[in-house]
Amino acid sequence: MSLDRLQELSSTDSDIAPSDIEMHGVKYIRSEYFTDGQRIFFSPLDFALNGPNDGSVMEREHKLYGRCKVKVLKRHFERGSEVPSFIECEVSRSFFKHKLWVVVRTTKLVLEKFPYNSIRDIYQPNYALYPDIYLKKNLRMDLVSPRNDASIAFSIVTGIPTGTKVREELL
């Protein structure tokens, strides 16, 4: 549920500040930051709407994992939608480079492309961060799959947890 929707459902006397404020023609959104000043994204949807543009690169240094980079390759929209269904990213660290899919919404197209379960399987949850190698090799993601290099590096840069699940409107 978005903060706007939460506020809409809350009483009118709510103390919750609006999720975005416009001052002097500039739009400010509610957000949190790493200590190095880089923005933490709340979810794949937040990343899709407020994240870097296609072709941009984000990077962050991590004590254990070193310098991680995320390049947004392309946002994939469906006709009539302003929100991308999934995003194609390239994630890299010193010794590897992987393609990673960030699934934002579950549409029919997404369910055709990604092997998500229509039922909730506790051993094969529907994760939003999907390394391309799993798609190429036709492998499902299981309980421990989110601990892969691509998802970890993406998580370090954006703050989105590796085990984030997709929104389940159509599942």
């Binding site: 051993y123 190698i133 799993y134 090799k137 499902r140 421990v144």
Partner: protein, 130 residues
Amino acid sequence: MSGNNLLRLGYRTDDSLYGDIPKEAADSIREFIGSIANLKTQKKQIEVERALCKELPHFFDQRFNRLVARKGQTIFWDCLDYFATVRFRLVCGDYCNDDNMLYAITHEAVLALTRYNQYVFQEGETIVSR
């Protein structure tokens, strides 16, 4: 070369598989993965449980008919996250002739840990991984 064995040579020594993994964890992960190295690709996944039990008696509690994690003898059970990372690298490096077998041993490990939790922590506390 090991013919049509499940894992191709080098899975123990390739540094890129175990980079940033603590040494003790890497050793136990090598041992766990090594238990299926000599299985032939034609063998069915149903034999995975038998192979694990036979090859790794110190990983599993021998008092049960099914696989149950045996803590204390190995630190593997505290390193499932690292194991998952290594498995991803094995898949990327095409080290395994049948990636589904890697998934099968992972599934057995998760089930063994789940059973351990059920037997030992019946009060509600659970340990999934690190």
